[in-house]
Every structure is written in structure tokens, then in C-alpha cells.
Amino acid sequence: MAASQKLYAALFHVLLLSLFPLKARSSARTQAEALIQWRDTLSSSPPPLTSWSRSNLHNLCSLPKVRHLDLGANYLKNPDWSKFSMPSLEYLSFFLNELTSEFPAFITNCRNLTYLNLSINGFTGQIPELLYTNLGKLETLSLSDNSFEGPLSPNISKLSNLKNLSLQNNLLSGRIPESIGSMSGLQIVELFNNSFQGNIPSSIGQLKHLEKLDLRMNALNSTIPPELGLCTNLSYLALAVNKLSGELPLSLSNLSKLTDMGLSQNSLSGKILPTHISNWTELTSLQVQNNFFSGNIPPEIGKLTRLQYLYLFDNNFSGSIPPEIGNLKELTNLDLSKNQLSGPLLPTLGDLTKLQILNLFLNNINGKIPTQVGNLKMLKTLDLNTNQLHGELPQTISNITSLTAINLFSNNFSGSIPSDLGKYMPSLEYASFSNNSFSGELPPELCSGLRLQKFTVNRNNFSGSLPTCLKKCSGLTRVRLDENQFTANITDAFGVLPNLVYVALNDNQFIGQISPDWGECKKLTNLMMDGNRISGEIPPELAKLPELQRLSLGSNDLTGRIPAALGNLSMLFKLDLSNNHLTGEVPRSLTRLKGLQDLDLSNNKLTGNIPKELGSYEKLSSLNLSHNNFSGYIPFELGNLNWLQYLLDLSRNSLSGAIPQNLEKLSRLEILNVSHNHLSGRIPASLSSMGSLSSYDFSYNELTGPLPTGGVFQNASARYFVGNPGLCGKAGLSQCPKTESSKSSKVNKKVLIGVVVPVCVLLVIATIFAVLLCFRQTKIVSNGESSKSDLLDPRLEAPTGQAAEEVVFVVRVALACTQTKPEARPTMHVVAQELSARTQAYLAEPLDSITISKLRNFQK
């Protein structure tokens, strides 16, 4: 703490203490002198605060005749209470200090105390019984805002003169003692924010002078005792945030002096009857929200003409809002939301000219908004969301110049929004018109106050252009214009909005281009523009959005290449560039998007190979590359996409070569589509083990051989294989020439595989084995530079194409058979399967760069 503050604090205390002789009604000369002496020592040199409170306070310890001691609002820390003795005290306050001890024992000897205030400290432990037995003259007991714990003793009733009991904000528990009813002088009882349980004692009804009863925020679980209605002087009744149940006792109607009634957040039920409330004409605040009250809102509510707060929200009230509510001319806050209110909004609502908050959301209110709503000149919040309101908004709504929030979403509104809405609303921050049938243009000056933060109009029929003020609303965090008919040019519609987090412009007819300025909206997490007519190229500036997680630009007229810089969007989990006219290759940098879960580049004009690096995505669950001009092989690395689940769609490209057997590892994949390519070879038999596959399509390729059987192919429909003239086996396809239906031929084939293949393999092994032992880095063919011997006869022409693949495949299998550990070698069954299926034929790299060591990784 700054030295000046310390000085100030010390001087304050000196002043305070200098008043002591005046406050003490009969100050003995000796004591006054002692105080003055003490004051002098202080004023000569103000000591540090802590030493003052710890040591010098002790000078005050023994003042046997002081009657009035007020040390409130200081920084006193724990003194040695055992040295304290002030038996004549009548008034004692340690209010707002830093005392954290147990209850100071000396106080229980101050038998003349009428006023005791220890509130707002850190006192702990239980309230001593001696307090009740010794301090019978107490009129005020305030121990609030401490950490007192334990139950409240029934002996509290011995404080028979008590008028004011303030124990709120402690850790007290147990029941509220029934004996409290015998403390007939009680005027104020504040027990809120403790852990009291059980019932509200019915004996409270005996407290005829009770004016304020505050039992909020406990765990009271009884009903409201009818006897409470006998406390006819009660003006403040607060029972909120307990577990009270049952109905309101009719006797409460006697509480004609009530000004504040708070019953919120209980489990109260039943109706609020006309008789309940008719006498509550003094009421300024009626809060019964978050209960289970039902029935109509009684028209007699109109008698409570002093009401400022009427909170009935989150109950089961039904029926219509009584027109008499218009009598409540003082009302500032009206919240009837989350009920089952029906019927129309009545014109009398417009009489509530002091209203600041009008919340009627989540009801079944129908009809139109009455024009009189324009009279609510003080209104800040108008929230009518999720009702059945219809028709056009009244022109007068534009007159509510104080509005900061207008929420009309999820109704049946139609027509256009008044064209001057917003023009006279300099404070408008939240505007939502979503999920209605609004049409026409947005009011051009809707955001002219430039305070707009959340602006959502999605799912309407809005058309035309956007308010030009949008780009100046630098506080905007959320903008949803999706699912409308906007035809605006968005190139310059937004500019740089530094606080924008979420923007959805999708499913409109926006034209123009994607502005590079989006790259300056540094907080953007969501940018959706799909389903428009946006043209031009994707600006590489988008890559400057460090928080971007979802980027959807699909179904537009975008051209050019995919910017390589997009690989910098490290937070991206969804990237949708589908249905555009994008050209060029897939930038390898996209594989840096390690968090990507959903990649959709389908329906473009992308060319080149499918990058094998795509197989390194660690979280990808859906990959769609269909409808492009990709060529080359399907990289076997795609089989490493362990978490691929929803989709792998490579259809309608120009892919050739075989379907990698490796795809069998996609054990969680549900949809596989490789149709409409130039894929050749057999469908790997191992794909039948892709247990999650529920849909696949191999049609219109150049696949050959028999369909795999079993597993997912067991009940395969032919239409997923048509257009492959060489495929055979299943019904609907041609019959396989070698595997006629007769059983004998199957046996023959088994014999063939069982005998011939192992012999072949052994021969291959025999010829290669010796070479391998000597030349582990041997290459298959000479690349002209290597001095090492090559595996193949250099006099022969190096194999190409499918021949090269088969060489590599045979060598790979053969090498596997030469593993030193027997268990690492493939079984003959596996070898037979591989040789007959021949689906391992793929080349990850040029033949002349493949070394033997690279081929020694056959796994099975």
C-alpha cells in the first residue's frame, strides 16, 4: 500500500479516536486522558499500519468505563483479545476490519451491550452460547459476512430485546430454531446465504413487529408456513433460492405493507390467486421466477400500481397477458419469458412508459406487435424471441430511441423491417431477426449508431444490399446473414472488423469477390460464404487469420489456384472449397493443417496427383476429392488415415493404377467411393475386412478379376461394380472364366495355389537370397551412377509400368520370406493370397530410387 494511503489511514484513526470522549456518554477523566495521550503518540509519528493494529490496539484493551466503541471500517488485524476488558460497553462495532479470529470472548462479558456489530470480517468458529445468555440487552446483533459456522442455538431467544438480527453471509447450518418466534421485538431478520435447512419455523408468525425477513440462499425445504401471513408489518419478504415447495398460503394476502416479495428459484407451485395479490398495493417488486407456478396471471395484478419489477419468468403460467398490466405505470422491468403464455400482445402494453426491459420470449404469444410499442421511450431491451408473433413490425418501433437490444428471432414475422429502424437508435448493440419470413432490404441505417455487436438475420427472405454502416461497426463480434436472398456485392461490404469472431454469409446470392481485408479480422474463427455467386480468386490473405477454425467457400464461382498459404491456418478443422472452378494442384502445404477433420475439395478442376502427404493427417474424418481431374495412382498412404470415418470420395477423376490394399486399414470408414476413374487390377480381397463400410462404389473403372467375397462384399449389389468389363463373379456381372460354379474347379484352384505358388516363391527366394545377403543397399535397377551391383540384369531393359510394379511386388514378398525371425515371415497362406490378388502393385517412387532396404518392410 502506498505510503500516502498509510498516512491517510493513520490520520483517520486519530480523528476517529479523538471523538471517543464525545461518543462515550460519561467519559471518566482518566480514560479521556489516556486516549489523548495515546493519540499524541500516534500523531507525532504515524507507525506502519500493521504494528499499529497489533501492538497499539492493546493500549485500548482495558477501558473499563467506555460505553461506545466504534472501530468500524479500519484495517484492524487480530489483537490479543484476552487482554480486552470493557465491561461498560453499550455499543461495539468492529464492522469491516480484517479480524479473522474466533468470536472475541471479552464481548460476552459486556453485559450492557445493546449494539454489537462484527460484520464484514473473517471471524470463524461458532457463535458462543454465552453471547445469548449474557447479552440480554442486545437490540442489534450483526455478525454478517464472516465465516461463523455451526447451528444457531435455540438460546438465541434469550436475546429478548433483539430488534435486528443480521447473520447473513456466513456458514451457519442446521435448522432455524423454532424459539425465534418468542423474540417478539424482532423487526429485521436477515439469515440469507447460509446453509440453513429444514423448515421455515411457523413461530415466525408471532413476530408482530417483523418488517424484513430475508432467508434467501439457504437450503430450506419446507412449504411457506401460513402463519407468515400474521406478520402484518412485513414489508420485505425474501425467500428466494431455497428448496421451498407447495403453494402460496392464502394468508399472505394479509401482508398489505409488502413492498418487496421475492420467491424466485424454489419449487413452488399452484396458482397465484387474485386474493393473494389484491392487498399488495404497496408492492414495488414481485419476483417469483424459476418456480412451477401455473394458471393465469390474475387481472388484479393491475392493482399493484407501484410495481417496478415484475418477474414471472420460467414458470408454467398460461393464458393471455391481462390488459390490466397496462395500469402498472411505474413498471421498469417486465419479464414473463419462458412460460406458456398465449394470446395477443395488447395495446395497453404501450402505457408502460417507464419500461426499460420487456422480455416475453419463449412463450406462445401470437398476433402482431401493437403500434403502441413505440410509446415505450425508455425501453432498452425488447426480447420477443420464440413466440408465434406474425405480421409486419409497426413503423413506430423505430421511435424507441433508447433500445440497446432487439430480439425478434424465431417468430412468424413477415414483410420488411421499417426502413428507418436504427436511424434513431444510437445505442443499438444487439439485433436479431433470425428465423422469420422477413423480406425486402435491411434498413440502410440499422447500424448507424455504430455500436452493433451481434447482428443476426439468418433464415429469412431478405434481399438486396447490406447497410453500409456495417463496415464501420468495429464492435461487431457476430454476423449471420445466412439463408437469405441477398444479392449485394460483398467485396467492400465489411472492411476490417477487428472483433469479429463469427460470420456466416452462406446460402445467399452475394456477388463480388472475397476481400483481402478479411485477413485483418484477426479474431475470426468462422468464415462461411458457401452457396453464393462469389467470383475471383481466394485471397492468400485469409491465411493470416490465426484463430480461423472453419472456412467454407464452397459452391461459388471461385477460380484460380488454392493458395499455398492456407497451410498456415493452424487452427482449421474444416476446409470446404468444393463446387468452384479451382485449378492447379493441391498445395502440399495443406498437409500442414494438422487439426483438419473435414476436407472437401470436390467438384473443381484440380489436377495433378493426389498428394501422398494427405495420408499424414492425424484427425481427418472426412475426405472428398471427387469430381476433379486428379490423375496418377491412389497413394497407398491414404490407408494411414486411421480416423477416417464419414467419407472417402475419390470418384470422378482420372485416377489409374490399382486400388491400394492399404485401404483395408481404414477400419472405421463408412463410405468409400472410387467410381468413375481408370482404376485397374483387382479389388483387393482384403477390403472385405473393412468392417464399418456401409456404402461403397467401384463402378466405371477398368477393374478386373473376381469380386472379393465375404465381409462387406457378401451381399454386394452389382450396381456398385458396373462399368468394369473385367470384373466378374457376382450376380449382374459376367461370370469368372476360371472360377466356374462347379466345386471341382474351386478345389483345383486351391490346389493350384497351394502347390504352385509356394514353389514359385521358393524359387524366387532361392535366386535372390544370396544376392541380398551381400548387397543390402542394392538397387533394383541401375540409375547409371551407382557403383553397386543391381539386382536385375543390366543388360535387360528396365521394366516400366505394370511390369515394374510386379517386379517390386515380387521382390517385396520374397524379401519378407527371408526375415531372420520365423514369426516375422508371412505365412504361406498370406503369400498365396497376395500373389493371387496381386494388389500390392504400386510404386511410391521411381523404380530406380527403390532400394532393397526400403522393400524390407512388408508387414503381415
Partner: protein
């Protein structure tokens, strides 16, 4: 500091409790889920309960009626536990929580997800038993609970799940025998390895919880 405290006391004296903007049970359920989870990489940062519904939250997918149909939180570095409120997502089809660090028991209320097609909880730290209530998941096709710490036996009630195509409980601490009825007739043995299971049940010979 004391004066700040005074202010807070003063505020607490105010009776009013301001209402939240909306009441969306599915959003509330997901928000309750979020409150149970630890999310060091902020995968759930966009889950703003003040929004009308959870359909714009990341990793949440809704249908056209704004009902949640997919929860994609696989590989998300989240820990914590699940609670009964997840059972309120009545329209959920895909519950993807795989490869995280979520522990505690699998809430039996997940059995209320009548439209669930896929439940992927593999690669977590779930313990306790596989809820029998899963037998109510009549649409379930994929149930992957492998690589957790689940114990007890495989509930026989699961044999009534006609659509179930993939069932993986490997690498847990399950005991008893492996059901053979219904869809269990076709599940490969790899789905059951690394447990304390005693092999396929022999009807009438060994109780299914033999060895538990």
C-alpha cells in the same frame, strides 16, 4: 479489498436474477458436458450458452430442425468425465469422443440416445461397466469402447441390437464369457482381445459372468 467486498455484498442484496436468453435443452446438455470437461486446447471455446441453440458451436452438427445429430470430439485432448445430461441429445446419431483422456463411468443415460448410429469412446480412461441400457440403442451400428479401463462382463442385453455391425471392446478389463447370439455371431475375436474374458460362452455350461 474490503470495499470491493462491500460492493459484492451490495450486489448480492439485489433480488433480481437476470434471465438467460434462451432455453435450449440440447444446448444446456452440451454446456453441462463442457463444464465437466477439461479442455486445454480450447476445442470447446465456441460453445457459448448464450446462443439460441448449439448449432453454430464447433464440432457440433445439427439437422435442419436445429437438433444436434453429431458430436465430433475425437482426438481433441479433452479430459474430465461425462454426465447424465448427454442422454438428452435425443436426435444424436454420432457420438465421437474417441482418443481423449475422459475418465469415470459411462453414464447409463446414454442408453436414451435412441437415434444413435455410432458411439466411439475408444482410447479414453473410462472405467466401470458397460451400461446395460445400451441395449435400448436400437439404431446402433458402431460401438467402439476399446482401449479403456472398463470392467465387469459384456451385458447379454447387447445381443438384441440387430443393427450392430462393429463392436470393439478390446484392451479393457472385462471378464466373463463372450456372447455368441445375435450380432455377436459375426464379430471377430480381435474385438475382444486383451481382457480377462473366458472365450465364447457355451450355452448352459458356464454362466456368462464366469470368472468375474
Amino acid at each position: 479489498m474490503a470495499h470491493l467486498y462491500l460492493l459484492s455484498v451490495f450486489l448480492s442484496l439485489l433480488l433480481s436474477i437476470s434471465p438467460s436468453l434462451s432455453s435450449n435443452s440440447e444446448g444446456n446438455a452440451l454446456h453441462a458436458l463442457r463444464s465437466r470437461l477439461v479442455d486445454p486446447t480450447n476445442a470447446l471455446q465456441s460453445w457459448d450458452p448464450a446462443l439460441v441453440n448449439p448449432c453454430t458451436w464447433f464440432h457440433v452438427v445439427c439437422d435442419s430442425n436445429s437438433h444436434v445429430t453429431r458430436l465430433d470430439l475425437g482426438n481433441s485432448n479433452i479430459s474430465g468425465t461425462l454426465g447424465p445430461e448427454l442422454g438428452q441429445l435425443k436426435h444424436l446419431k454420432y457420438l465421437e469422443l474417441y482418443r481423449n483422456d475422459i475418465g469415470g463411468k459411462i453414464p447409463k443415460e446414454l442408453g436414451n440416445l435412441k437415434n444413435l448410429v455410432s458411439m466411439d469412446m475408444y482410447g479414453n480412461k473410462f472405467e466401470g461397466e458397460i451400461p446395460k441400457s445400451f441395449a435400448k440403442l436400437k439404431s446402433l451400428i458402431f460401438l467402439r469402447l476399446n482401449n479403456n479401463k472398463l470392467s465387469g462382463s459384456i451385458p447379454r442385453e447387447l445381443t438384441t441390437l440387430k443393427e450392430l455391425k462393429v463392436f470393439d471392446v478390446s484392451n479393457n478389463d472385462l471378464c466373463g464369457t463372450i456372447p455368441v447370439d445375435g450380432p455377436f455371431a459375426s464379430f471377430p475375436m480381435e474385438s475382444f482381445v486383451n481382457n480377462r474374458l473366458n472365450g465364447p460362452e457355451l450355452k448352459g455350461l458356464v454362466p456368462y459372468d464366469f470368472g468375474c
